[in-house]
Amino acid sequence: MSEQPRQITLDEWEARYACLRAAGVLPEYSYGGPLGRHVRDGDLRLRKLRFDNSPAALRLWNFLLTEEERLHQARRTGSKLVATMKDLGTVPVIVFALEGLVAFYPDGTWWTPCVMEHCDGLLRVADTLGIPDTFCPVRAMLGAFVEERQFPRPDLIVCSAGATCDDFSAIAGRLESLGFPIFWWEIPHRQAFTGEEAVQLPNGFVAARSQVAFVRDELERVKAALEGLAGRRLDEAALSDGIRQANGVRGLLEELRRLVFTANPCPLPAMELLIAEMFAIHFCSDRAECLVILAELVDEVRRRVEAGLGVLSPEAVRVYWVNPVADLRVMNLLEECGGRIGGTDHMICHALVPIPEDVAPLEALARMALADPMVGSSRERAARISREARALGCEAVVVSRIPGASHCGLEGAIIADTVRREAGLTVVEIEVPPLSDAMLPTLRTRLEALVETARERRRA
């Protein structure tokens, strides 16, 4: 029954599931079942992916792929749904501190066209609404809002504006024009001002004290709006508890990343790590369950590390990966080409470190929000990536562009130049659309060449 860690296909998972089930070794949970059931629901992409073979990874996938059902269920049972857009991890902490509210992340629908291989039709809806493929695939959320299949119409939509990417602002603006009222809050472009006290933020960034105060006031407005929706006040103790819970998730992810990045052989595939990391920003609509799933995954990975087991060859080249891919298949491809994940910046680094608990809760959240790598200069983000890639012993860097995402066009070259200059690593830029099948040969060439180059350097 126990099998060595490895990546398996959907069909192999079906057979393994039946064995595990018959042996009674799978934990019971309401959203459980074989992976194949999601394919029958339309998640066709799963047929082309290779998955980690642990029950913990199966649970991770099942949790991810049942979020839709959870949101509709939450609506039926009277919970209020809050769509939290763009802020990448701050507002959900406040939402989940208020009983009766459930936060979700509509931007996450950007993966639906990939997972459903376009049979969802979300991008076509966005096309008809005047947001074509010159915009980031996050435009899929427009279709989801209009069609109400992926999630019910939210009771409140909260979206950050200001230092956000242009295409996202355009998409959110279009959403509002369609009659979806948005509660906007502003996040300024992070900077320190001469002659003003600078506040140290997580991940080595700094911001002017006045900026932190401004964001704190903005979050106070958000809190008031959420209190109005919930019909109750959120006191400091409850918010502090919400921060502790969020830190529970972040702590598990911190440990998971540490284990995955430092162990050899690599104990968890890149795709499962990417999905787990994303839980940091939205808890996949259920914070309590998210904690259980991540704890299980960390246990599994720790067991593997202690036993010296992994899913990839010990010779795999350590690659630092920048930006999440629109097509999950490409994370498998990296490993097929001889690479492994050695570090990541999926634009959510600020959501992967603990929120300070020694300052007032809104002050702490303001600092976290300002530590978002996407609200500062590209140069700062690039320098952080370069430092981290070097510290983690990465041998190469992939900058994965998201087609249509304005920030990618602007910062890709800055990140590549900085990493080459400061870390001395080989960098390759790729662009990954929601379905990359037609481009796989060229993507493969780039990733294989990157691995070959890194191996040649290793030999030298």
Partner: protein, 264 residues
């Protein structure tokens, strides 16, 4: 020890047989690519062996490279064209620090270290701009052979400005220029300039010299000069530039394998 490199490109299949001990190329030839890539590669490989009095058992290792590398069943292993072109250039021009490789369907720029290894690379393969296919379409529209394009460009007195990088729009633009009386020579010169500018943009700033030009497009007269102008640095065409990838593959076959692997 004889090794072979097979470069299955988008427009041609190239095979090099190398006597690695004597560092001597025994045979190097290319045939047009087709649907049956594997059969074409095998046929060419067998013919070169036969012409040189060799059998398959004499070849100790075969490396396939190029776009169709995974379709070459003869190959013991595959290596990307980026690594292979670097290895090929290293043999013909050891002091090279940069390689520009332009083939039928993509273009690449490689920066090399002092030992000839790849330090970094950039590729354009999202569209036909900056590829041999772009030049083919233009030549066809102008009613000239590809190898005449450069000669025509050389006779230009005032190169046209081609603003489109998309091959379809560029074709439309060329039709418009012809209709407005612009000479084919000026259009050809404009196309080479536009093409070279595109490749130079991909190369970025500070491409180190010597810069060596490989791939089938290097054979287009005037292309190296256009690149030299766009980069502001001299660009030197590799000897037999179409074969550089296959040569590199044969060299790497010798380097990375114990001898006589196939005979054991």
């Amino acid at each position: 020890m004889i090794t072979a490199g097979i470069d299955a490109g988008s427009r041609a299949i190239k095979v090099v047989l190398l006597d690695a001990r004597q560092d001597r190329v025994l045979a190097a030839e290319a045939v047009d690519q087709g649907v049956q890539q594997d059969a074409l590669a095998t046929e060419l490989f067998d013919r070169l062996l036969s012409e040189n009095g060799l059998g398959r058992g004499d070849v100790c290792r075969i490396v396939a490279t190029g776009y169709g590398r995974n379709l070459v069943s003869l190959a013991d292993t595959t290596i990307t064209e980026i690594t292979c072109h670097a290895a090929g250039v290293r043999r013909v021009k050891p002091e090279a620090r940069s390689v520009i490789d332009i083939g039928g369907q993509d273009s690449k720029v490689m920066r090399l270290d002092a030992a000839g290894g790849v330090r970094d690379f950039a590729m354009n393969d999202r569209c036909a701009a900056g590829t041999g296919r772009f030049l083919e379409v233009v030549a066809q529209r102008l009613g000239v052979r590809l190898d005449e394009l450069g000669e025509r460009a050389g006779r230009s007195r005032s190169p046209a400005f081609i603003s489109s990088t998309c091959v379809v729009f560029a074709e439309t633009e060329i039709v418009g220029l012809l209709a407005s009386g612009t000479s084919p020579e000026d259009i050809a010169a404009g196309v080479l300039q536009s093409f070279a500018t595109r490749v130079a943009a991909m190369a970025g700033r500070g491409l180190e010299e010597p810069i060596v030009f490989t791939g089938g497009v290097a054979l287009v007269p005037g292309m190296a000069a256009a690149l030299t102008e766009a980069l502001g640095r001299p660009v030197e065409i590799a000897p037999d530039p179409r074969m550089t990838g296959a040569l590199g593959a044969a060299i790497l076959a010798a380097r990375h394998s114990p001898s006589n692997v196939r005979n054991q």
